[in-house]
């Protein structure tokens, strides 16, 4: 908390490179000033530092995505998608985050909502973040355990406890199923490709032939292999696997 309350963030003004003591809020608002003046690189740097110190702030990741997308340098699109994805993970019901993530993915040739999936179902399935699902799981579990304790101890209350206990048990089972389903169906160790036309090889090194190329902004799954700055990835949509240089990936 002390670190959050009193941060040392390098304010990278274009003209004066001096180190100032600012809070994350000050850096956040200073970044907005840079953004409004179209100094997107400076804004991206400050938003990046803010997101690093307040990692659970969806707004910091969202604004960082905006600054990166506006900056428009090579690799910015992939980094912007990674930032928007983090923001979306934290706040899936925010329409601005969903819109900008969809916008950036379209630039990368992807769709946020897979083709053939009714948007209503897709949005309902992602109504809650993984954190919220975990919280719902534990809250309903605690409630069910306490009610079950009362049910056991106080025989005379059993009639009154029947409905609340049923509800909390149902909630617990639903949260467990939802959480498990989201974890099982989502990308495992997701990352975004930040290099245009990144080459994916059949092994960890340039001695192995290029198997396929992945466009910038494509979301992939890190499969766990990691050798000499090469990471094994999978592209579930196309069912492809290969090795890519770690510099070409930005973990989400």
């Amino acid at each position: 908390m002390i670190r959050l309350a009193c941060l040392i963030l390098a304010a990278t003004a274009a003209t004066a490179q001096e180190t100032r003591r600012v809070t994350p809020e000050e850096a956040f608002h200073e970044a907005a000033v840079h953004y409004e003046a179209s100094r997107f690189s400076e804004a991206a740097e400050l938003y990046g530092q803010t997101a690093e110190f307040v990692p659970d702030s969806a707004s910091a990741h969202y604004n960082l995505g905006n600054a990166l997308l506006r900056r428009g340098t090579p690799g910015s699109l992939g980094l912007a998608i990674a930032s928007y994805s983090r923001a979306f993970q934290l706040s899936p019901r925010d329409p601005d985050i969903r819109h900008n993530l969809s916008f950036a993915l379209k630039r990368a040739g992807e769709e946020l909502i897979p083709a053939g999936t009714p948007p209503v179902f897709w949005k309902a399935y992602r109504l809650l973040s993984i954190t919220e699902l975990k919280a719902l799981f534990f809250l309903s579990l605690w409630g069910a355990l306490l009610l079950a304790t009362l049910w056991t101890v106080r025989v005379e209350w059993r009639e009154r406890l029947r409905s609340p206990l049923t509800i909390s048990l149902t909630l617990w089972l639903a949260a467990a199923g939802w959480w498990g389903s989201r974890t099982a169906t989502g990308l495992r160790n997701p990352a975004v490709v930040v290099l245009a036309g990144a080459e994916v090889r059949s092994g960890p090194g340039t001695a192995f032939p290029v198997g396929f190329k992945v466009p910038e902004g494509r979301r992939v799954s890190r499969l766990g292999g990691n050798k000499n700055q090469w990471v094994e990835i999978g592209v579930p949509k196309e069912g492809l696997k290969g090795w890519i240089e770690s510099d070409a990936l930005e973990p989400i």
Binding site: E25, A58, N66, F103, A135, F138, T149, T152
Partner: protein
């Protein structure tokens, strides 16, 4: 116009082509004593473009004269082009063809068109001959005379030498300085000379097209002079050094034929003409880069040094509200164009301005780097009427005058009409539509604006807190498990009351015995201990404690446990009677104490408990 031919080729390169190459020459006919400039432009949508593969051109000596790179970024995509310049020196008269030149990045291949060139005889009057002395000097190009070795030659002037000079010894930071390296040769060269650039720490460099070939007389000897030029841009103030430039070439040398040498036949058939590699170096040059003055620095100055102009151009002067107007801002001039930062539009109340994208177009001539940086954006009028886009300033430092200058575009006027009923952005109304309703038309799709609240909501914080406190589940879990145990115990009690009474007998008796220990007198203690003993036996034997007699107790104990030691029954009888005696005749208690009585009863109960368990 010819200077901009490569630039036009750059602009004309198809945006969709992944890899492209084009070749052009500055002339299609050239005299044998002149030179030809071949320009190759490799363009593509990747940052690292491959170099072209030059084919064999036997009719020319080919000299590499540098390269320059141009980048542009649009919507996050990069497109770049690299311009290669070669100087071709004709060797044979006649029609020559520059064959197709290919470039490949491993996946794609592109090829230029072949170019026809006519090589003519030299003109009757050789260039610079009027100033040259009458003494015949060797011609490096076209001359077939072998170079003579210096020892024993009729002049002390060297066969070849190289010089280097800069046009400014104390430029400003970011000011363009031209380094000129002159290669003087009075002998025939075998093959192309190789030039190694000098090390220039603290400076950015740009290759420039080579200067014209010329002739020069030095110490009575005629030299062909070739110029190599570079533009230097100091990026830091202070003393900066330009390292030595190196020119490596191979020259012909006369050699006498040695009949005993191992390569006699090779010497014989080469008619005694050999070759020798010559390496020439320039001296390092030091320049002093001056810091840009702080006085008078405009607020919008981003580091441009040179001479620049700015102009603005819109693709239309009339539009409707919501229409897109393409605005092009072009900064043009001489200097380090790469140092020009992004332009900023002044605050516009009547227009909505979109992201500005820039592209760099560089051209080079003998005097340095020139060209333009073009910024493009889209404006959409918000209101109707005659709208004025104010002048857009651009500031730079003019090194010739030593002052900052600010140039401005001309204000642009637009005649804006109200938008179509269907297309104009209708106001969003709530409730019933009062104007017949309106439709919102999307002009362009863009990302949404920034969020201004850094901290997550209380709901999100609570969710994070709960999600991270999963380990606390052990507490309600233990509570629940405890309740299950308690419930099991309670059910057991309810289902077997006799057994429950029997199991609790020892505890209750011991508790009464502890209480009796602190009784004020032996009579009171005896009363409590009597209750404890009869209660224990009543609980164990499932009898009423109040009506239990010693005889009944003994019989019941015998029938329940026939193998019980007789001593325990005798002890029961003695204790029972002693307690009754003290209880009902306190005066006969003698020296009995409460604790002593309690110990006796406790001992008896423990012994009986053992018997019950047996």
């Amino acid at each position: 116009m010819r200077r901009f031919a490569p630039l036009l080729l750059l602009l004309a390169a198809p945006a969709s082509a992944a890899l492209d190459i084009s070749a052009s020459v500055n002339r299609n006919s050239v005299a044998i004593n002149e030179q030809l400039v071949l320009t190759l432009v490799v363009a593509g949508d990747q940052s690292n473009l491959p170099p072209p593969q030059l084919p064999s051109m036997p009719r020319f000596n080919v000299h590499n004269a540098g390269r320059s790179t141009n980048f542009s970024f649009v919507n996050g995509r990069i497109s770049s082009s690299v311009q290669y310049t070669f100087v071709l020196v004709p060797r044979l008269i006649g029609n020559a063809v520059i064959p197709p030149i290919s470039v490949s990045n491993g996946r794609e291949q592109a090829q230029s068109q072949p170019i026809q060139v006519t090589i003519l005889r030299p003109e009757a009057t050789p260039p610079a001959s009027s100033a040259a002395p009458a003494r015949a000097a060797p011609q490096p190009r076209g001359s077939r005379a072998p170079a003579r070795a210096r020892p024993g030659s009729e002049s002390q002037a060297p066969d070849m030498y190289v010089t280097a000079e800069i046009d400014k010894s104390s430029p400003y930071v970011n000011e363009q300085t031209i380094l000129t390296v002159r290669f003087h040769t009075a002998v025939r060269l075998l093959g192309n000379a190789e030039w190694a650039e000098p090390v220039t720490n603290g400076m950015l460099t740009e290759d420039l097209p080579p200067g014209p070939h010329s002739e020069k007389t030095h110490e009575g000897r005629r030299y062909m002079v070739s110029e190599i030029r570079m533009a230097l841009f100091p990026i830091q103030p202070g003393k900066l050094q330009i390292g030595e430039s190196t020119i490596k070439t191979r020259v012909a040398r006369n050699r006498s034929v040695d009949p005993f040498a191992a390569d006699f036949f090779q010497q014989f058939f080469s008619q005694g003409i050999g070759s020798e590699v010559q390496v020439l170096k320039t001296r390092p040059i030091t320049l002093t880069a001056r810091r840009l003055p702080e006085a008078g620095k405009p607020s919008g100055f981003t580091g441009a040094v040179g001479k620049f102009t700015i102009d603005a151009e819109a693709d239309r002067s009339s539009a409707k509200v919501g229409d897109a107007i393409n605005l092009t801002l072009r900064v043009e001039g001489r200097g380090n164009l790469k140092a020009i930062g992004d332009l900023e539009l002044p605050p516009l109340d009547e227009f909505r301005a979109y992201e500005m994208v820039g592209s760099l177009n560089q051209a080079k001539d003998a005097d340095g780097v020139t060209g333009s940086k073009v910024f493009k954006t889209v404006l959409t009028p918000k209101v109707s009427g005659t709208l004025t886009l104010p002048a857009i300033p651009f500031s730079f430092f003019d090194p010739d005058t030593g002052r900052y200058r600010t140039v401005k575009t001309k204000p642009l006027e637009f005649s804006v009409e109200p938008g179509d009923a269907a297309a104009a952005p209708a106001p969003i109304s709530f409730g019933a539509a009062v104007n017949g309703g309106g439709q919102i038309t999307t002009v362009t799709e863009d990302i949404r604006y920034l969020h201004n609240q850094l901290r997550p909501s209380a709901q999100t914080r609570w969710a994070s807190l709960v999600a991270s406190a999963g380990s606390l589940t052990v507490f309600p879990a233990f509570l629940f498990i405890g309740s299950l145990g308690w419930s099991f115990y309670r059910d057991r009690q309810l289902q077997d009351p006799v057994g429950a009474r029997r199991r609790g007998a020892i505890g209750r008796a011991r508790s009464l015995a502890r209480e009796a220990r602190s009784a004020p007198d032996p009579a009171s203690a005896a009363a409590k201990l009597s209750d404890a003993l009869s209660g224990y036996l009543g609980d164990k034997l499932d009898r009423s404690a109040s009506g239990l007699t010693l005889k009944e107790a003994q019989e019941a104990l015998k029938s329940r446990n026939p193998g019980a030691p007789e001593g325990h029954l005798d002890q029961l009888r003695r204790v029972w009677r002693e307690l009754e005696r003290i209880r009902f005749a306190p005066s006969q208690s003698g020296d009995a104490t409460s604790s002593g009585l309690a110990d006796c009863v406790r001992e008896l109960i423990d012994a009986l408990e053992e018997d019950f368990k047996a």
